[in-house]
């Protein structure tokens, strides 16, 4: 049995994979241009491989991945919907490949597109203004937190706390901390929601912001939202929407109409830009009118001459990354929104909700729902009864790999014992959903019939379960130049 080789392990001295254009100017020894101390004594130990070596290696390892193109991928909270190829084609049009400091008069097409995207996001979210600057959702959260802080400070207030439900994504508290805030957790009630009464207890004049995910990470709509907004605004705080679950709301209800002041959108979720194995994403942030002057980055505006240009908001909190934003990702998001239109967005959300409820109705007798009521675009089930019979959520997830499915998110949200968080998205067919349900029901039977098969899963993957504890105890994070990995 041989390990899958790393590119360094197929390297052979003298192989070349690329040819540079010949120098058509006079060459000169480096010493004449750079001081000796500045020059590297030996070239860095990069691999020496041919072009075919490169293509074959990366094609082979790519085949070791499960992905949306090959497999149902119901990873909860991640909205693994099909990524249309036409948006890829749009983003690759050569005329979009401009330098970030391209003169304004030479980048009018890009600016018009970005302006259109801002407008559509404002409509989608019921917001007054959007910045397209943040690199990803978590950076969008950080942006929103800084905007809130700047707004309070402009009113002469220094508040110290951000309130976050216990069901929230980990990025929320981490972003709040990065913004210099102390995090206060509010517990979810028996219905899996933030109850207005529990919220009232932690809200006071020192709270800057309440960050809410709606629908929350249990896939449930926070039905106390209007009262929640009132409680938050009554103490002079702002209401933030973590837009991770916007795929349940698009075209159905607008966050701004519900009282949210700030919202971030994950383009790689609702707007179907490819997840890329973990990025690049983009995290546009929308705000109500009173917060618009504080947005980071730039806004694209249309002048009286109908020309488009970039403007730094007057009291901007600054910049979070270099240049305008992840334009290549934003072009895909624009194309996706234009392809769907308002009606298509609504149809998507309705279908995502239909698919999640269908899974829920077929699975609820076997895997106990955390809260037994209709869900939005994802459903959270529990494998606690399976755990008593000898297989944990992790075992079930690993066994699903043998059935050819990517597992749901497991052990999140943290408040659900043995959580299975399933988000099917709208692009999956009933046939696929049925096959997935059948697999889960079969695994449930296997727990009694052949428990070791479940507990030892997966059996059909390129590698089995890895010893992550040892890996973290003595981390091997790079390949040593001498080639010995142990």
């Amino acid at each position: 049995m041989t390990d899958i080789p790393l590119i360094f392990e197929i390297s052979q001295p003298g192989r070349r994979g690329w040819q540079l254009p010949a120098l058509d100017v006079e060459d000169a020894p480096l010493e004449e241009m750079l001081p000796a101390g500045q020059v590297r004594a030996e070239p860095a130990e990069l691999p020496e491989v041919t072009e075919l070596d490169v293509v074959r290696h990366f094609t082979r390892i790519s085949a070791l991945n499960m992905c949306i193109d090959t497999t149902f991928y119901p990873l909860g909270s991640c909205t693994m919907k099909y990524n249309p190829r036409v948006t890829e084609k749009c983003a690759r049009l050569p005329a979009f490949d401009l330098h970030p400091y391209a003169p304004t008069e030479c980048s009018q097409g890009t600016l018009e597109l970005l302006h259109g995207l801002q407008q559509m996001l404002c409509e989608l979210c019921g917001m007054h203004a959007f910045t397209l600057h943040p690199a990803a959702g978590a950076q969008g959260e950080f942006a929103g937190i800084l905007v809130a802080r700047a707004w309070h400070e402009a009113r002469g207030e220094r508040r110290s706390k951000v309130v976050i439900p216990d069901s929230a994504h980990g990025t929320n508290p981490a972003s709040a901390r990065l913004g210099g805030y102390q995090v206060v957790t509010v517990r979810s009630d028996g219905r899996g929601r933030t109850s207005p009464s529990a919220l009232r207890e932690v809200m006071d004049g020192d709270v800057a912001l309440f960050m809410l995910t709606n629908p929350n990470t249990l896939g449930l709509f926070e039905d106390g939202i209007l009262e929640i907004a009132e409680i938050v605004h009554d103490v002079g705080a702002l209401l933030y929407l973590d837009g991770a679950n916007l795929n349940a709301l698009a075209g159905i209800v607008r966050p701004g109409d519900l009282g949210f002041d700030i919202v971030h959108v994950n383009t790689h979720k609702t707007l179907s830009t490819p997840h890329g194995g973990g990025g690049p994403g983009a995290g546009p942030v929308g705000v109500t009118e009173r917060l618009a002057d504080f947005l980071p980055g730039w806004v694209v505006e249309k002048g009286v001459d109908n020309g488009f240009r970039l403007r730094r908001p007057e009291r901007s909190v600054g910049q979070l990354r270099s240049f305008f934003g992840s334009t290549g990702v934003l072009i895909r998001a624009y194309a996706y929104l234009r392809a769907l239109g308002g009606r298509g967005l609504r149809e998507n959300s309705l279908t995502a909700i239909l698919n999640a409820n269908y899974l829920r109705s077929r699975l609820r007798e076997t895997f106990a729902p955390h809260v037994d009521e209709p869900c939005m675009h994802e459903c959270v089930l529990s494998a606690k009864s399976q755990k008593k019979r000898g297989a944990r959520a992790l075992d079930i997830a690993k066994r699903l790999l043998d059935y050819g499915f990517h597992p749901p998110t497991v052990y999140f949200p943290l408040i659900v014992e043995e959580a299975l968080m399933i988000e099917p998205t709208e692009t999956e067919s009933k046939t696929t959903l049925d096959a997935f349900v059948d697999a889960l029901l079969a695994i449930d039977r296997e727990i009694d019939e052949c428990p070791d098969v479940v507990r030892g899963a997966p059996h059909s993957t390129p590698v089995g379960r890895l010893d992550e504890v040892s890996a973290a105890r003595r981390p091997v994070l790079t390949m040593p130049v001498n080639g010995a990995m142990e």
Partner: protein, 446 residues
């Protein structure tokens, strides 16, 4: 377009299984629903969409091959065709963060290879599997240094990219850290300035290599100065330049960061790019971002998995080392493939060609009457020219007459440098390209 998955009949079957007549029946708890989104135009079929977006693209006027001499943090380089071909594979682009390592070895192996390549280029022990971009990586390095040392100030070279400085200010504003800027002189960071800023409260000293003005800094001396004050030394390096320049590790850096955009990543009006971060071993548990590590399965097979995750937000929440979650995996993959295709000697050759072409170009452009190099220090592929007129006017004139974008007008950032033009010459610029630039500049300055 409609990408939903089921037929009308299947939808009816699903509704029946749920026991409702319509999906809307499940939405009773939602207040203030909307009927539609009139501000979003009606959907388009594929052909009409392509036509519409192509029309927008046509409204851009790109400089075209051989005509863009602007660098300033985003560089035009040639990437092998295999890069785009391979990153376009759905197996890479339509998968997510490798939470299930058994079915994500492709992403994980590529991440481990990226970490190894960056560690070798920077001469440091460990690299992570990507950051958002170079600027935010520099800011995260400062935060790392603050956590590690328990100190609350950072010293930054004034010759760092002004947008990176802005990002640093934003990131550090949250924790209230103090930023001291060591002003640059003659295009470089004078050590006297740096030493005056350093004291026992300084967590780190950050410098950029080459710096924003294209000049090479003396990393060894900078490292000594930082260490003398007990501070960490952070070098923000162009990774392509590291093909030929002494590595930050051998110069004494504790942390290296940068943007991988120069490794053949498309300019794409500012992104997506990717950042990198490499550190000395003792700092690894304070690192932000994803780390891929080697592991074994029960049969002893080698595999790769995300590791040291207890640093991260999904476990540690408000005590995490960073809020970073989704970052730039696919861009890091592009950089990985670029570095592998170029290889050990290819990267060095590309870097060398950049040095040679930039120096030949600088010589030619200085032959224009009234034009001279603003700084006399060594440089990699970018240099500043002092012109006898405002750079802004010269840029416009050159662009209108020849279609060439001759460089960046530094008056954009500093009013007292309004007569300075920063020119970048990479391996993509031929002798004829530079001759055309020379002629156009000469014409503009007559």
């Amino acid at each position: 377009m409609d990408w939903t998955g089921s037929s009308p009949d299947e939808r009816r079957q699903m509704l029946a299984a749920i026991g409702v007549d319509s999906v809307e029946a499940l939405l009773a708890a939602i207040p203030r629903c909307v009927e539609g989104l009139p501000g979003i135009p009606d959907g388009l079929d594929e052909a009409s969409l392509l036509r519409h977006v192509s029309d927008l693209a046509q409204r851009n006027r790109p400089a075209g091959p051989g005509k863009c001499f602007i660098g300033a943090g985003a560089y035009e380089h040639a990437a092998p065709a295999v890069v785009e071909a391979l990153i376009s594979r759905g197996e890479f682009s339509t998968t997510y963060t490798p939470y299930q390592p058994e079915v994500s070895q492709g992403t994980l192996i590529a991440g481990f290879e990226f970490q190894t390549l960056i560690a070798r280029l920077t001469g440091l022990d460990v690299a992570n599997s990507s950051m958002y971009d170079g600027a935010s990586a520099a800011a995260e390095a400062a935060l790392l240094a603050i956590r590690y040392t328990g100190r609350t100030a950072v010293v930054v070279s004034g010759a760092m990219h002004p947008e990176w400085l802005c990002v640093l200010r934003t990131y550090l504003s949250g924790v209230g850290a103090e930023i001291r800027i060591a002003a640059s002189e003659y295009g470089r960071t004078p050590l006297g300035q740096v030493e005056a800023c350093l004291d026992g409260n300084v967590a780190c000293f950050l410098i950029q290599q080459p710096n924003f003005l294209g000049q090479l800094e003396d990393l060894r001396a900078a490292a000594e100065a930082a260490h003398a004050a007990g501070s960490l030394f952070v070098a923000a390096c162009n990774p392509l330049a590291l093909g030929i320049l002494a590595s930050p590790g051998e110069c004494g850096a504790d942390i290296a960061v940068g943007d991988v955009q120069p490794l053949g990543i498309p300019l794409s009006f500012g992104g997506p790019y990717a950042g990198y971060m490499a550190v000395r071993e003792p700092l690894v548990r304070q690192m932000p971002g994803r780390l891929v590590g080697m592991a074994r399965d029960a049969q002893g097979r080698r595999g790769f998995t995300l590791t040291l995750q207890t640093r991260e937000q999904h476990i540690r929440r408000e005590r995490a080392t960073s809020n970073i979650c989704t970052n730039q995996a696919l861009v890091a993959l592009a950089a990985t493939i670029y570095l592998c295709a170029l290889g050990k000697h290819g990267l060095r050759e590309v870097a060398r060609h950049n040095v040679v072409r930039a120096h030949r170009a600088a010589e030619r452009l200085q032959e224009i009457p009234g034009v001279r190099l603003a700084f006399d220090g060594p440089y990699f592929n970018e240099f500043v020219l002092r012109l006898p007129r405002k750079a802004r006017d010269v840029c416009r004139h050159v662009r209108e007459r020849s279609g060439i974008w001759p460089g960046l007008d530094l008056g954009r950032f500093w009013p007292d440098m309004a007569d300075c033009l920063m020119v970048c010459v990479t391996e993509t610029k031929t002798r004829e390209d530079v001759e055309a630039l020379r002629a156009a500049l000469e014409d503009a300055l007559q």
